[in-house]
């Protein structure tokens, strides 16, 4: 279980990115992290995965716990070892490595060779397109294919929790549908919990159990996915209709 306790994140000692953000990602659940551009979604994920310090950022307040252990001061590599896999925004597939090598890198920390082989086949089942692109260099794959690749790569790590940063960015609607369907499947079958940061609220809330809405670095609304989907103010916020958040 992933727990954020009133974290405050700052970049370059001067840019305040998150204030008093608290969140809970229960085991086996899918949590949506919504908000418009610049609201702090990526920063939240980076705080969890330890990437904040690689961008001259730090947590000045609050703690982050994973399965009861504090992780907010650890290196990204250590956090990955603990079972959190951060799927980065954009084309983060290894461009010079082949599809298969990308997937093998996902299993970098694993020691169980046979299961890795089995998981590799599983990925090709989830994403048949990747099977045909097996020996192609990652850089030559299309946006949608690369997105599938990095999700598959994260799956290969068999993480307890996956953090996904805008998986639908730049993708055609049809592909978005299949990607979210597969994410749902991974969550159901493998019991991996997912924290999905997205601007595409509908698609995300359709598969999520719970959601948080960020604006200007604060959580302004949270609730079960059902409630959020129907909440009148929620719709206004992420469509940008209300600039002032309602008092909740």
């Amino acid at each position: 279980m992933l727990k954020l306790n009133k974290i405050k994140a700052v970049y370059s000692d001067v840019v305040l990115a998150l204030t008093e953000v608290s969140m809970l990602v229960e085991e086996g659940s899918i949590v949506a992290l919504l908000g418009s551009n610049g609201s702090g979604k990526s920063t939240t994920l980076k705080s969890i995965s330890g990437l904040l310090k690689t961008e001259d950022g730090k947590l000045t307040e609050g703690t982050i716990e994973f399965d009861g252990k504090r992780i907010d001061k650890l290196n990204p590599e250590k956090i990955a070892k603990l079972g959190i896999c951060h799927v980065l925004q954009g084309r983060s597939a290894f461009q010079q490595l082949t599809t298969e090598e990308n997937l093998q890198m996902g299993a970098y920390l694993r020691r169980d060779k046979d299961n890795v082989k089995r998981d590799l086949d599983q990925i090709y089942e989830y994403f048949p397109q990747l099977a045909t692109l097996r020996h192609q260099k990652g850089g030559y794959l299309s946006g949608g294919e690369q997105q599938m690749l990095i999700i598959g790569r994260a799956f290969m790590a068999r993480p307890k929790t996956m953090l996904l940063d805008e998986p639908s960015l730049g993708l055609a609607p049809g592909i978005i549908g299949s990607i979210f369907a597969i994410l749902k499947k991974i969550n159901e079958v493998e019991k991996t919990s997912l924290l999905i940061a997205e601007q595409n609220a509908i698609a995300t809330l359709n598969i999520a159990n719970y959601g948080y809405i960020l604006q200007n670095g604060r959580v302004i609304l949270e609730g079960s996915a059902q409630v959020l989907k129907n909440h009148e103010h929620a719709q206004g916020i992420y469509l940008g209709l209300n600039s002032v958040p309602p008092r909740l």
């Binding site: 995965s49 990204p76 983060s92 290894f94 090598e101 890198m105 996902g106 790590a157």
Partner: protein
């Protein structure tokens, strides 16, 4: 002797020597790819490595060890040296601007030179017969046996490293980290370990290469030659390409031997700056080199 004998001989011996140059340059490229450090002190690593080898193998006070053990010891010392240098100098520079690290390598160059001069003196030393010597005749062409041996060893070593990068998990991880370090860290690839391995490899390759060159031309302090040589090979081949190293080394060596034979009588000493001229031409026409990735020059 027909008209082709001389050029053929020159080209062949150029290929033999060039393979060693290419091999040495690989150490530079591996470090650059893994750590983004432009290591101006690299040539001095090779010189230092050769002198360490001399201590174990060639010097009069050398312990009477069988050759393989002596070589093994040298390589172990080389790896340790690489790790020490990483810890002392480069670990603290992670995250600092690349140019600062570049200047640091210049400082390191001076320090290493000083260490070599103080420890072994300014003399040239002969690395005792680590390789069999003598001429080998292929028809009309005469090649030096030790060059052939150097060539074979360089090729074997190159293939070993290629195997490491292509087929082992660690090698894959290093390639991934070069491709996208952040993504690699999120998958558990340790940035620190990466750095340590890169520098250990750097020292290892430099030492092997230094030994290979030394057995052919003696161990001495002529570092400026080695520094510029490696830089020339690396820029001709492409700053981040291992294939480019081999090609760069071959082109450079063959070119130098040909220039030396044909142009030296008219322009004495031109062969010594052939590498510089070629490197300049490449840098001005195609800065990324023959095989380098194009966007590198925007660094």
């Amino acid at each position: 002797m027909d008209a082709l004998t001389v050029p053929l001989q020159l080209i062949l011996s150029g290929i033999l020597v060039g393979s060693v140059y290419g091999f040495i340059a690989m150490g530079f490229v591996i470090t650059y790819r893994s750590t983004q450090v432009f290591n101006m002190a690299y040539g001095q690593f090779a010189v230092l490595g050769a002198f360490i080898a001399w201590t174990f193998i060639g010097s009069p006070e050398a312990p009477r060890l069988p050759l393989p053990i002596a070589l093994f010891l040298t390589l172990v010392v080389a790896i340790l040296l690489g790790l020490v240098i990483e810890r002392l100098f480069f670990r603290r520079m992670i995250g600092r601007p690349l140019f600062a690290t570049f200047m640091l390598t210049l400082g390191l160059l001076a320090i290493l030179r000083s260490v070599v001069m103080v420890a072994w003196g300014p003399k040239s030393l002969a690395l005792a017969a680590t390789l069999p010597k003598g001429p080998v005749n292929l028809g009309d062409i005469v090649l030096a046996k030790e060059y052939l041996w150097s060539f074979c060893l360089a090729m074997v070593a190159t293939l070993a490293f290629a195997f490491f990068f292509r087929r082992t998990k660690l090698g894959l991880a290093m390639r991934a980290a070069y491709d996208n370090q952040v993504a690699a860290r999120c998958l558990g690839v340790s940035a620190e370990l990466n750095s340590q391995i890169a520098w250990a490899m750097c020292a290892l390759i430099a030492t092997i290469g230094g030994i290979l060159i030394a057995t052919v031309s003696g161990v001495s302090l002529h570092l400026s030659e080695l520094v510029m040589l490696v830089l020339a090979v690396v820029f001709i081949g492409g700053l981040d390409s291992l294939v480019g190293c081999i090609c760069g080394g071959l082109i450079l060596a063959v070119g130098t031997t040909l220039t030396s034979y044909y142009l030296n009588p008219h322009l004495p000493g031109i062969a010594t700056i052939f590498s510089m001229i070629l490197m300049l031409l490449v840098l001005l026409i195609r800065p990324s080199g023959l095989f380098g990735t194009k966007q590198i020059e925007r660094v």
